[in-house]
């Protein structure tokens, strides 16, 4: 069947991609620890599975690579001594090549790279002994020659196997078994083991002592698959000398084939209770289907919210009953939403699977020794969070490998082990998931960070000096502040730690840094378990509606600033609860036209890290419970936006990020205020 149109092509790609991702990690483990049989089996099984499915689809190149790699894996497993770096590199190359093939399955022609790689894999495999062949060469223990009652008729049986027979050895074994079931098999030539790895079309001749009629024997053997022709006739009376020599009556001894005699490696470790290991049965669902389901669940909730509004306009007697019904409906809808959310939970391992390979490559490139420890791979997060976390996490890992960990010489001089330790962990804490990237490297230099922050004009010298060391570490999240002067090709000049923080906060999370000079640095990401339901205050500016997370809103108020200097104000102050609060125009901040006539205007007073500020809008529209979704590029780069949601009427709504607004206004420095300055804010 034409592969490109195969109805399960997508499924094949998904399964193969999963296997290949896991292979990457397992290959890294091969290098790091003495490989165990289960590890080898798993590696073999993944390669084998990709090969099997690809073969059915007719993807010849994938089969070629996987087959060659599988052969090498089988020989490497049998080889007891240490693995060569080059051998593992080849397996990595094979995995990479398979990933590449699977990404662009439609390419038709053979490319030279594949051919070269397959050759290299084959060459490496040839350099190693073939465990299968070795077993075959091992002579089986001498068996007593099979004997049969001399009075039984002898049948000469000739069996022609089909030319298309893919495994003549196995086919011959079935023929042998069938013959043995009908009598005593005195001779068989060639033996099944001798036909192994031969191409089809073999002829087998056998001598059978039996009471079964020739026709019956012929029919039984002809009924086997891949048997083209069977010839059965009575054997001439004169028998080979060895049969005459054999004693007349001992019970017939079965022929033991070499396949039976040799000991084969176990495919699976028998020690563990298999039932405990088996994951519960699951159904694979397209990710988009879950997204749609989530959107629809959200829509139902919005619809219910609208019903509720409508019910308020009903006469009181009708309204009460209606509201009761709506409440029940709302509870059900919430539960439905919750279930969809939990179906979207994805294990942390989907993010960390690629890390071992990435860290291995980084270590080689940087000339460092790095031991990666990944913990909490089964902790689950919403798929949206997992997807958004990919870049920040790999950034933090690169950063730790490049800037955090020292080279082996420096480490040894500092009295540390030459091999640096990098720990990536996830753990659940109530409704949060804490992800940490920890290194045992040089730690951050608070003084240097202070200097850089002043140099980059993010802080004035006095502010910088007032920061505690802990607060100074957070300066690394400022754009343009790096902990090292030399930019490297691995992680650049501290580029992106600000992006990491932005991304985490856009998910409703928090990023922070702990560091001890000489001991190491830990980046802590506090993440919501799922993209959450947010209670939003809907405001209008110009023609657009925006949402503001209510948990940041202190109060709303009305104020007439035009009386004190007209429209177009940059910033003014309001008195809120006896305190002066800076006020900004949302329209001004985003460069939007404001449609509000001069006069009193609504203000939303928000609080971020103890700092209060007010934002003027054109109109307060109402409140709505909404499913917050992270923004995708390029919107995710707009400061001041936290996410998006879709209103009940299908209209998209941008949700504002109060922290980003505070930073935009300049009132809030993205550095946590040191304890000393906090009270003043």
């Amino acid at each position: 069947m034409p592969a490109a149109s195969h109805k399960y092509l997508t499924l094949f790609v998904a399964e193969a991609a999963e296997h290949l991702a896991a292979l990457q990690s397992e290959l890294v483990r091969l290098e790091q620890e003495p490989p165990t049989a289960p590890l080898w089996d798993s590696i073999f099984r993944r390669m084998h599975s990709v090969k099997g499915s690809a073969g059915t689809l007719g993807f010849g190149r994938i089969v070629d690579i996987a087959h060659a790699a599988e052969n090498l894996i089988a020989r490497l497993k049998a080889k007891k001594d240490k693995l060569e770096r080059a051998e593992v590199d080849l397996l990595f190359a094979a995995t990479d090549a398979l990933v590449k093939e699977i990404v662009k399955l439609d390419k038709k022609e053979d490319d030279e790279e594949t051919i070269t790689l397959v050759d290299e894999l084959a060459k490496a495999a040839q350099a190693l002994p073939d465990p299968g062949a070795a077993a075959l060469r091992t002579p089986s223990p001498p068996q007593p020659p099979p004997v049969a009652d001399a009075s039984l008729p002898r049948l000469d049986v000739a069996v022609f196997l089909s030319k298309t027979c893919a495994a003549p050895g196995a086919r011959a074994l079935i023929v042998q078994r069938k013959l043995k079931a009908m009598g005593t098999l005195l001779e068989m030539e060639p033996l099944p083991a001798q036909l192994m790895q031969q191409k089809g079309g073999a002829r087998i001749s056998a001598l059978l002592a039996t009471l079964t009629a020739t026709d019956e024997v012929r029919a039984a053997i002809s009924a086997l698959p891949e048997v083209d022709e069977v010839d059965v006739r009575m054997a001439p009376a004169a028998r080979p000398p060895d049969e005459r020599r054999s004693p007349p009556t001992p019970p017939p001894a079965p022929i033991v084939s070499p396949a039976q005699a040799k000991v084969r490696p176990q495919l699976t470790p028998p020690a563990v209770e298999p039932d405990e290991l088996r994951p519960e049965s699951t159904v694979r669902v397209r990710a988009e289907a879950l997204d749609q389901l989530l959107d629809q669940a959200a829509e139902v909730m919005h619809g219910i919210a609208r019903l509720r509004e409508a019910a308020k306009r009903l006469p009181e007697s009708a309204a009460a009953r209606m509201e009761g019904d709506i409440d029940r409906l709302r509870r059900t809808a919430r539960e439905l939403h919750g279930r969809v959310m939990s179906a979207r939970l994805t294990p942390f391992s989907s993010l960390t699977e690629r890390l071992p390979r990435a860290v291995r490559d980084l270590a080689h490139r940087l000339g460092k020794q790095i031991e990666l420890d990944v913990q909490g791979t089964d902790v689950e997060l919403d798929r949206a969070v997992i997807e958004a976390l990919g870049d920040p996490l790999s950034h933090l890992v690169r950063n730790a490998a490049d800037h955090g960990l020292e080279d082996p010489d420096t480490r040894l001089r500092a009295g540390k082990a030459a091999r640096g330790k990098l720990t990536v962990s996830a753990r659940r804490e109530r409704d949060k998931v804490i992800v940490e990237v920890q290194d045992d490297g040089r730690g951050m230099d608070a003084a240097a960070l202070r200097r850089k922050a002043v140099k980059s004009a993010a802080l004035i010298a006095e502010q910088a000096e007032a920061l505690s060391d802990d607060a100074a570490y957070e300066l690394a999240f400022l754009p343009g502040v790096s902990t090292r002067d030399d930019a490297t090709d691995v992680s650049g000049r501290g580029v992106g730690l600000d992006a990491v923080q932005r991304k985490v906060e856009s998910l409703g999370g928090k990023a922070s840094i702990r560091s001890v000079a000489g001991k190491g640095t830990t980046f802590v990401l506090e993440l919501p378990l799922s993209v959450s339901m947010a209670n939003l205050l809907l405001v209008q500016v110009g023609a657009e509606l925006y949402g503001i997370p209510l948990h940041r809103v202190l109060l709303t108020t009305e104020y007439d600033l035009s009386a004190r200097g007209g429209e177009g104000f940059e910033a003014r102050s309001l008195v809120v609860m006896g305190q002066l609060v800076r006020a900004y125009g949302l329209a001004k901040m985003f460069g939007l036209p404001s449609l509000a006539p001069p006069g009193p205007r609504p203000f939303v007073v928000m609080e971020v890290d103890g700092i209060r500020f007010a934002v003027a809008v054109d109109r307060l529209v109402g409140q709505e419970e909404a499913v917050l979704k992270p923004l995708f590029p390029p919107l995710d780069r707009v400061r001041g936006l936290a996410g998006a949601t879709v209103l009940g009427n299908g209209r998209p709504l941008l949700v504002l990020d109060p922290r980003g607004l505070a930073e935009l206004s300049g009132i809030h420095n993205p550095v946590k205020p040191a304890p000393a300055t906090k009270g003043a804010a």
Binding site: F12, R45, P225, L267
Partner: protein, 121 residues
């Protein structure tokens, strides 16, 4: 009565492909298992007329599963689904009691030809 098949393979892709082959030929797919442990349990529960058994699977190989199935029911019809280059494993499976085998990559008609022969149709 249509023959009932238990399909065992750790790749969903292969299970779906086999299911289509059997369904279109009038078989009933009685169950599917994605590892050897599940295969043995489902065999005991469903007592199918035929099992197609992958060899290389997690937790319990197709060979061990076949051995247990044949111990449970000596008349069980188990057809191994092996890949090219797995001949020695297929032979081991036959020693363990497998009825026959097919070699991947296969076409629907290859599978059905073997299956019909081993079921004596």
């Amino acid at each position: 009565m249509p023959k009932r098949v238990l399909i065992v393979d750790d790749a969903l892709f292969m299970r779906n492909t086999l299911r289509d082959i059997f369904s279109s030929a009038g078989f009933t797919v009685a169950g599917e298992a994605d590892d050897g442990v599940q295969a043995v349990n489902l065999f005991r529960e469903l007592k199918p007329d035929l099992v197609t058994m992958d060899i290389v699977m997690p937790y319990k190989s197709g060979i061990d599963a076949t051995r247990e199935i044949v111990q449970f029911d000596p008349n069980a019809v188990v057809v191994m689904c092996s890949a090219l280059g797995q001949e020695s494993l297929v032979m081991e499976a036959i020693e363990a009691g497998a009825t026959d085998f097919i070699v991947k990559p296969f076409r629907g008609e290859d599978v059905l030809a073997v299956v019909k022969k081993v079921l004596g149709d």
